[in-house]
């Protein structure tokens, strides 16, 4: 008997759920439809991230590391499918395999950082009075990411992993020309014990969602890897208006580029809290 093939409808990933765009819109990519997120999807995603962030940060650092490691495992177990998608979307000649390798390794790399941040970034400060003064890194909060267009998967993971390792929640705009791999990666995240809402992935047009993300006052930082000077300037302007950290990263195309200044990437998305405690009284 002839069987109808079951085709996959790609969805946004908001608050741990796979949803269509609130606007009902989609953009065709070859024969399939990719949801086109609206500014209201951005609003919903930021609300979900805000709700989830405290819980994520409150997990023990060790537990966060385990969960990031599990995300790498889940990605690894789906590699055949995601590699195929990457190749169809233009990553040919072994590029897809290398990209998958790098993406998994980057997740494992940052999983190892979670329980070391406190010692490396914080510490006891020398002070000239009878106080114990110590500093602790705390997550910046909700981080917006405008991911690189290519590489479609690694470009996202390279920005996502350090933000998560620091205890932030993330709302990311995925690759515009090849969004499928990132949306497939959402399914791996969905089975990684990551609390719902800690990662939210949106596909859509930069002019629409990029600026909506930059303009949302409840975002604490924005990381722009779009390599689009005009958008970058607009995001800077919006970040200044709504008081958030803005940074522009070069595209990370390999494991080395995604991890070489690993600590700097993480530290940029933390805030140091210093406490003074009287001693010898």
């Amino acid at each position: 008997m002839a069987r109808l093939t079951v085709r996959k409808t790609y969805k946004l990933y908001i608050g741990g759920a796979f949803v269509r765009s609130e606007s009902g819109r989609a953009d065709p990519l070859g024969e399939i439809n990719i949801p086109r997120a609206s500014r209201k999807d951005v609003r919903d995603a930021v609300a979900a991230a805000r709700k989830a962030q405290a819980r994520w940060a409150a997990l023990t650092a060790y537990n966060r590391g385990q969960i990031l490691y599990r995300a790498a495992e889940a990605l690894e177990s789906r590699r055949a499918q995601i590699e195929a998608v990457l190749s169809e979307d233009g990553a040919g000649g072994g590029e897809a395999v290398a990209e998958l390798d790098a993406a998994c390794d980057v997740l494992v790399h940052y999983a190892g950082w979670t329980d070391k941040l406190q010692s490396v970034l914080g510490g006891v400060n020398p002070v000239a009075s009878p106080f114990l003064s110590f500093s602790l890194p705390e997550p910046t909060g909700v981080v917006g990411i405008v991911a690189a267009d290519r590489p479609a998967l690694l470009g996202l993971v390279a920005e996502l992993a350090p933000a998560l390792a620091a205890g932030n929640a993330v709302v990311a705009v995925v690759s515009r020309s090849a969004p499928r791999a990132a949306l497939d990666f959402a399914e791996a995240l969905g089975v990684s014990d990551l609390p719902a809402g800690v990662v939210n992935l949106l596909s859509g047009r930069l002019t629409e969602v990029g600026c909506a993300l930059g303009a949302h006052r409840d975002l604490n930082a924005i990381v722009d890897v779009s390599a689009d000077a005009e958008l970058g300037a607009e995001l800077d302007r919006l970040a200044a208006e709504t008081i958030k950290r803005a940074s522009h990263h070069p595209v990370a195309g390999s494991y080395e580029q995604a991890t070489e200044p690993a600590l700097e990437r993480i530290a940029a998305l933390t805030e140091l809290k210093t406490a003074w405690h009287p001693v010898g009284v």
Binding site: V46, A215, H216, R217, D218, E241, T242
Partner: protein, 295 residues
């Protein structure tokens, strides 16, 4: 004891309540809706952990919800437990914001009538201008309408000048027929307002029970000529829900009910969402929680 109840069409109620929630309310209409919602709000704190300091802070917020948005009006009233009425009354003196108190063994009402009257008397003596009482669900569910009405009448008398809001706690009544019947009993017994819920039960002021109660008010007012107000409390946690309740009231009872004298929305968390949404209509930017004070 048994009673015969007028039938309420469940499907029709659900359909109409949902339909009235689908209106698109944007820009200036939204701003106006938000201003009305704030002006009819009973800003409420009913926790075991309430303190005088917390109530004073809440009162300051009630008088001026958002210093950065001067066109936002004061709320209608601050609603607290009887022991904190004195604090609230003092903090609200001369502001036009009224002091409301829950009473009669709120939220369960499982105490003797004498204790209920004493509770009410204490609140009124301390300066409560409005009293939110609970009906005896125990008597209502046993079919003892006479006792339910007698208690309301007695509390009505103990209130003196204070306005009486009667909470029927819809989530515990079982059906829309009972909600309508309890509403009618409360109004017959002299309630100035009928109120959906305590906010402590599993469900609160769902659009459906609001509609059933509003229709009861409409029918009672037509029949008797006496104006009765409506208070939606419990579960109205954001702007969308608040505007939905306003639409229900406007379409069932008319514009003249959209004033603090005839309508209240009991809420605590909805106020900040209203302010954030109002700010969004002005700046075009989604607001953050820290933009407004917690209480």
């Amino acid at each position: 004891m048994s009673r015969r109840l007028a039938h309420v069409d469940r499907v029709g109620v659900a359909e109409r309540a949902a339909q009235l929630g689908r209106r698109s309310i944007k820009t200036t209409a939204k701003q106006q809706g938000i201003r009305i919602a704030v002006s009819v709000m009973d800003l409420t704190t009913l926790e075991g952990s309430d303190t005088a300091g917390k109530v004073r802070q809440l009162c300051a917020k009630a008088v001026c919800p958002a210093p950065t948005l001067p066109e936002i009006p004061s709320v209608a009233a601050v609603c607290v437990y009887p022991s904190l009425v004195g604090v609230a009354r003092e903090a609200l003196a001369g502001t036009g914001v009224r002091t409301a108190s829950v009473a009669t063994g709120f939220p369960a009402g499982q105490v003797s009538l004498a204790a209920k009257l004493r509770d009410t008397g204490d609140a009124v003596q301390d300066g409560a201008q409005e009293v939110d009482m609970v009906i005896s669900r125990e008597a209502f569910l046993a079919g003892d309408d006479a006792r339910v009405m007698h208690e309301i009448e007695a509390v009505r008398e103990a209130c003196g000048e204070a306005h009486l809001k009667v909470i029927i706690e819809t989530a515990e009544l079982g059906s829309y027929e009972h909600v309508r019947h309890a509403s009618m009993l409360a109004m017959e017994a002299g309630a100035d307002f009928i109120k959906t819920s305590t906010g402590k039960a599993a469900a609160g002021a769902t659009p459906e029970v609001c509609l059933v109660m509003l229709e009861a008010i409409r029918d009672y007012t037509e029949r008797s000529g006496r104006i009765v107000g409506f208070k939606a409390a419990g579960g109205v946690s954001n702007t969308k829900a608040a505007l939905h309740r306003l639409v229900l009231v406007k379409e069932t009872l008319g514009d003249e009910w959209l004033t603090p004298a005839r309508l209240r929305i009991g809420a605590s968390s909805a106020l900040n969402d209203l302010l954030m949404q109002y700010a969004k209509t002005q700046t075009g930017r989604y607001a953050r929680g820290e933009d407004f004070s917690l209480e």
